[in-house]
């Protein structure tokens, strides 16, 4: 079944990316099995999925690097495959694991792109924007992984793009470098650019993205704002305490609702805010030892793991001969 996502956005915002019924097949293997989504201009859209889900294939189709089998794709109103040359002047792309000419410095790399794109961007200003100014005269082969990625980002901005495609830009980077890339992504949005971000760090998507879509086995299994996805697919907010299994039994009898025990922690779902006092009262009334009280809610990662897990379990059951 195809899941249609309708993104409502305040004001007359045109879509930067429109995808309808996109299919990509490699021989008999279906990498993307008919997906639909749209990305409003000026927003950060995050495309999530486990490895091999169809993220990179979809992204490369949008970038005009790969031909689609069928479906309609428009990026900035252009067909990425047939209007690739026109599109490439208006988008910026940073692939995973960005590689460049090894003996060329950061400044020379930007001067090279500047000549190709016929722009007059200042290398120093661009490198300052991605926090790489101190490496302006360093050759590419002397840069660290994070610095290489930042140079990729700077090069993708040489043509002042309307859409930035970032394919797992922080994979393999240390926490500091990752935060630096996040800051740049926020500034891109601040400048009114559309950002298409693929990642498998769910916290990254939750922090940066206005909208996310989760793709698995070539199908979109959830889409919306991170909050919407968590609300629709996550468990309700819970009260958790550390305590013995008997506590769970006691609470189940006295509260008349499901109580879970996991890793020595007892958790009870909250129906509404006033529920919290009632639950804590019951815990105290049990007379059993308890400790380290906290409330918890599902993160996008929890939802992602559950959704992907459910789908894989379902797929396994279907494949098992009866």
């Amino acid at each position: 079944m195809r899941l249609h996502i309708f993104l409502s956005y305040p004001g007359p915002v045109s879509a930067a990316i429109e995808v309808h019924g996109l299919v990509k097949q490699y021989g008999n293997l279906s990498a993307v099995g008919g997906i639909d989504f749209s990305v409003p201009a000026g927003t950060v859209f995050s495309f999530l999925g486990p490895n091999g889900a169809g993220k990179t294939t979809t992204t490369e189709i949008l970038e005009g690097l790969r031909r689609r089998t069928s479906g309609d794709v428009e990026v900035l109103g252009l067909d990425p495959w047939t209007d690739g040359a026109a599109l490439h002047r208006r988008i910026g792309v940073i692939p995973q694991d960005f590689r460049f000419f090894e003996k060329i410095t950061a400044r020379e790399a930007i001067e090279y792109y500047r000549a190709l794109f016929h722009t007059d961007v200042d290398p120093a200003r661009l490198l300052a924007q991605v926090e790489l100014l101190d490496k302006i005269d360093a050759r590419f082969d002397t840069l660290s992984g994070g610095q290489k990625q930042k140079l990729g980002l700077a090069l993708a901005l040489t043509n002042n793009p309307e859409i930035c495609f970032l394919d797992e830009p922080t994979t393999g980077l240390d926490p500091h470098a990752r935060r630096a890339i996040w800051a740049v992504i926020r500034s891109l949005k601040g400048e009114g650019r559309t950002v298409f971000l693929t990642t498998h760090y769910l916290e990254e998507a939750e922090l940066l993205a206005d909208r996310v879509a989760i793709i698995h086995h070539g199908k979109i299994i959830a889409a919306g704002t991170p909050a919407e996805i968590i609300r629709a697919n996550g468990r309700p907010e819970r009260i958790e305490v550390a305590g013995p299994p008997e506590l769970a039994t006691y609470l189940e009898q006295h509260l008349d609702r499901p109580v879970a025990v996991e890793n020595g922690r007892v958790s009870v779902e909250l129906a509404d805010k006033s529920d919290a006092l009632k639950i804590l009262g019951a815990i105290e009334a049990s007379g059993l030892p308890w400790d380290s009280f906290q409330t918890s809610r599902d993160t996008l990662e929890d939802v992602f793991v559950r959704l992907v897990g459910q789908m894989d379990d379902g797929a396994l059951k279907q494949e098992t001969p009866r």
């Binding site: 970038e63 690097l65 790969r66 792309v93 090894e102 003996k103 090279y112 190709l116």
Partner: protein, 373 residues
């Protein structure tokens, strides 16, 4: 075709190359090593006496025999008298040209009588201008022996004028030493190997590293990219050829003509092989198979196109094979302009390489893909 793009890419290629010590070694030092090595192996004629072919027109007179014996005794030359029935004085020069040791001496008719009478008489020494070492040896020896004879002759009256002199003539421009053939051959060798090996590698490794993918997202076209590489290898070929000619002339007194006719070959040659390397690297699916295809194309040409040995010295079936190798036409063309001044044959060679180059360039641009289907 936007030449600003070509120029921008050319700067990147040039900087990458100039900052790579291995690449610099192979384009600047390796040519000198090649010339020195092959020059020393195949044209080591410095030791041992120089054989002088002598045509004695003085009917074996005692004085002429004495003179030749004295010459032989210098031990720097070895006199080999040839019969005047074998060769006539008028075609002695061209006969020498076909000889392995193209150095000769003619003792004129009446040599003994003139020597006795004190009438000046001239020996004729034939030397090969492309072999300065043996020419110098022979001229020095003849002069030394003649001086001795002039001093030993009793002076008539108070005047003691030298009687025996000599004039020197060139054997003829058709005489070349191995080093003369070696220079165009080795220039051809570097026109072949330098672009082939690196383009095959670039075509597959840039694809693997995603650099073509990066470039496909810029306005740079494949033809512009290839043209920038071709331009770089043409520039490199000019430098390498200059080094090789310089080393050949300086180390081995090579005899090559530096004509403008060489220029088209130094352009069309790299044009063909950069395109061919790109085509080979494109057809291959992995860097390993690319290297294999590159080697299969390169190695037969490396040895069988007249690089180290002239094709005319091959057995006939190998000569036929050489004629289907594009490098043969590059090297033959350079031989024609640098050695034989045979411009019409050079033009035919050039046309073959140019047409082949255009076909391979078109194929490479068409088949080589920035992006996947």
């Amino acid at each position: 075709m936007n030449f600003r793009h070509v120029a921008a890419d050319f700067r990147v290629v040039m900087r990458s190359y100039l900052r790579n010590p291995v690449a610099l070694f192979f384009s600047l030092i390796f040519p000198i090593i090649l010339i020195a090595l092959f020059g020393l192996i195949f044209s080591a004629t410095g030791s041992g006496p120089v054989t002088v072919e002598v045509l004695n027109l003085d009917h074996n007179s005692p004085v002429s025999r004495e003179f030749l014996a004295a010459l032989n005794n210098t031990s720097v030359v070895k006199v080999n008298v040839v019969s005047d029935t074998t060769v006539s004085p008028s075609n002695f020069a061209s006969w020498l040209g076909k000889n392995d040791d193209p150095v000769g001496l003619i003792v004129p008719d009446g040599f003994a009588a003139n020597y006795r009478n004190g009438t000046p008489t001239n020996l004729t020494v034939f030397t090969n201008p492309s072999d300065a070492a043996s020419s110098g040896t022979v001229l020095g020896a003849v002069q030394g022996v003649a001086n001795g004879f002039n001093l030993a002759r009793a002076c008539s009256g108070s005047v003691c004028a030298p009687v025996i002199g000599y004039t020197s003539e060139n054997v003829g421009s058709q005489v070349y030493t191995y080093i003369d053939y070696l220079i165009p051959g080795l220039i051809g060798f570097s026109i072949l190997t330098s672009p082939m090996f690196s383009m095959v590698d670039i075509a597959s490794s840039y694809r693997k590293d995603g650099i073509f993918r990066e470039l496909s997202l810029t306005p740079l076209t494949r033809a512009e990219w290839l043209l920038s590489r071709i331009t770089w290898y043409v520039a490199l070929t000019f430098v390498t050829a200059g080094i090789m000619i310089g080393a050949g002339v300086y180390l081995f007194s090579a005899h090559v003509a530096l004509t403008l006719g060489l220029v088209p070959f130094l352009i069309v040659g790299p044009f063909f092989f950069v395109s061919l390397g790109m085509l080979a690297g494109t057809v291959a699916k992995t860097p390993e198979s690319a290297a294999l295809i590159g080697n299969i194309i390169t190695f037969p040409m490396m040895f069988l196109s007249g690089t180290f040995f002239t094709v005319s010295s091959f057995p006939p079936y190998l000569q036929t094979f050489a004629h289907v190798l594009p490098l043969y036409y590059v090297i033959d063309g350079m031989n024609q302009v640098m050695l034989f001044a045979n411009m019409s044959r050079a033009l035919a060679d050039l046309a073959v390489v140019l047409v082949a180059g255009l076909v391979v360039f078109a194929l490479a641009v068409r088949l080589f893909k920035w992006r996947d289907e």
